[in-house]
Amino acid sequence: MCVHEMEKPHILATKPGEYKGIPQIFAPLLEKHFTVVPYHEFEKNPNRWADKIQALIVFFSIPKISRDLLLSLPNLKAVISGGVGVDHLDIPLITSFGVKIANTPTIVDNATADMGMALLLASARKLIEGYKIAISPDMTKLTHCDLGHDVSGSTLGIIGMGRIGYKIAKRAQGFDMKILYHNRKQREAEDEKAVGATYCAKIEDLLRESDFVMLSVNLSPETHKLIGKRELSMMKPTATLVNVSRGLVVDQDALVEALQDGVIYAAALDVTYPEPLPRNHPLLRLKNILILPHMGTASYQTTRAMVERIIANTRLALEGSPLLDEVKPN
């Protein structure tokens, strides 16, 4: 590579603006530092680009990183993933090729916590039902949908009190919610006090007492199907399940059953498995469910901050410096 030609390092990514790609508006940020090789172009003609690719950016878990892909990129130094979840990456496989991995933790915390609260409030206060009535071509006199449930003063049970869970607690506190939490480790007393949260060593206690159960855990072998038939049956029949973690944390078949039979009152999900659900999936036919297309971080400011962080980590990887957000194998 001739340095004087000012050729920017090549990176592989989904074409900005395409499905699951970085939004088009942020493409210039990337292009300032890198030559972006769109993934579908690479697939058509891998030999043209293979040697040049030094970093691979994963956004919305695309592209999928397979052994074959890794074998074909001899100069790959880093896989940089947008978002905090890395359950879509085979970390041991990637690191076995001497490739570093980075994510974007902390940057996503506020926006995800905000989305958790948005889901909780929208579900409790029947936003969708009300909206449908308000725009209905048949409404000639003021009509109401079914009554909602008060959020103020109700009990929120947070499962997973990491950075995002803690920010959810902070937001819920402003609504005078009673806050319970379950976590691998109990938090420091002063942290608990600051948000008015009470630790439940047993998840069962949290499930029994909560009006809203919020899932904000990582997906791991320990949290796979953490909420199944047994857990759902422990919840109040008036309770709502809110999920901003990963679809696989919930046994979806058990959830369908619980919602159909009135074992729980409602669910509000930013995440499902798969994403999207097949269009004939029973979850889509239920009345007491709100599903969003994984928008936890879909805000202008947060997405921009993620892209900037991706760029920073990529540049560090390419110059052989320590990454800001390296993800190492356990």
Binding site: A111, L127, L147, P276, R279, P293, M295
Partner: protein, 354 residues
């Protein structure tokens, strides 16, 4: 509260039976009559709460009354108003000789002509305070749903056509954004308290400045000039009463002061906003979006331009529309009515202002 049990009705002289000024005696079985929309009617009180009222009162539905006014008119001692119905106009007041109380569900009474009603010797009550939390919660729901494009996301999520999550518009962060509250009364203050948890920067404009301790508790900055608040806010939330002073408080001039990226949220009354001006600025991108629990009229005519805009979220006036809040409102209405009918001061009288 107990029924007044006096002399059996049939033993009274005729002149005593229909006395308009004395406490009207009635038999053990007959409860005082109130006029209201039939519970369960789409604009009425939810039927689940009818028993709370029927424990103490006999409900004459608006429909029944309209069909046979002569039969019921003398009996009605109170009117329960819900979602501004029934309408208390001069015609109605004149045919209810024994009316003592107009009992409003909700805090806003802009739909009631209080001087007119008072001129008939009838008292008016509302239900302040009980609605504060639920209304503030709905204000935050509107703010978050609008900012984070929940409706658009919902439509994508259930769309029959999608096989992949394509990129739709991305929203704006609520955390760390600036919220300008116009009207920092009881409800506005509760909104500030909730916004604080999102690390929002909170500005407020009010007739009177709040105490420093109150401001500090929610991190709110007083803006004497509403224009400055409009310029500085990412989200502008209207939480005022409707009065002659707040009628069309937000018009074209005010909207054009707002940031192009800003969102207007209204949980007060439709008439606080000049709706035609709002349509114009939303259509031309002078502001980013609006989220309204209230409009004028309610509901909007089905061909109204607000219903055609992509960047408006409208709800059918649901600020206090929850089981728990509705229940306490109905209980309070009953308590206010019983007090007045028993000649006692009610808990929440609204007097005609000067």
């Amino acid at each position: 509260m107990t029924l007044l049990i006096r002399v059996p009705f049939t033993l009274l002289r005729r002149s005593q039976r229909w006395s308009t000024t004395a406490a009207r005696p009635y038999s053990v079985m007959e409860k005082p009559h109130i006029l209201a929309l039939q519970p369960g009617d789409k604009s009425g009180i939810h039927s689940a709460f009818a028993p709370i009222i029927e424990k103490h009162f006999t409900i004459i539905s608006n429909d029944e009354f309209t069909k046979d006014k002569q039969r019921w008119a003398d009996k009605v001692q109170a009117v329960f108003v819900w979602c501004a119905v029934p309408k208390l106009n001069r015609d109605l007041l004149q045919v209810l000789p024994n009316l003592k109380a107009v009992i409003n569900g909700g805090v806003g009474v802009d739909h009631l002509d209080i001087p007119l009603i008072s001129s008939f010797g009838v008292k008016v009550t509302n239900t302040p305070n009980l609605v504060n939390n639920a209304t503030a919660d709905l204000g935050m729901t509107l703010l978050l749903a609008s900012a984070r494009k929940v409706i658009q996301g919902y439509k994508t999520g259930v769309s029959p056509e999608i096989t992949e999550y394509v990129q739709s518009e991305i929203g704006y962060d609520v955390s760390g954004a600036t919220l300008g509250i116009i009207g920092m009364g009881r409800i506005g203050y509760q909104v500030a308290k909730r916004a604080k948890g999102f690390d929002m920067k909170i500005l407020y404009h009010n007739r009177n400045r709040r105490k420093e301790a109150e401001e500090k508790a929610v991190g709110a900055h007083y803006y004497e000039k509403m224009d400055d608040l409009l310029r500085d806010s990412d989200f502008v939330m209207l939480v005022v009463d409707l009065s002659p002073q707040t009628y069309h408080l937000i018009g074209k001039r005010e909207l054009s002061l707002m940031k192009r990226t800003a969102t207007l949220i209204n949980i007060s009354r439709g008439l606080v906003v000049d709706q035609d001006a709002l349509v114009e600025v939303l259509s031309t991108g002078l502001i980013h979006a609006a989220a309204l629990d209230v409009t004028y009229p309610e509901p909007l005519p089905r061909d109204h331009p607000l219903l055609k805009l992509d960047n408006v979220l409208i709800l059918p006036h649901m600020g206090s529309h929850t089981y728990q809040t509705t229940q306490v409102m109905v209980e309070r209405m009953v308590a206010n009515a019983l007090a007045i009918l028993n000649g006692q001061p009610p808990l929440d009288e609204v007097k005609a202002s000067k």
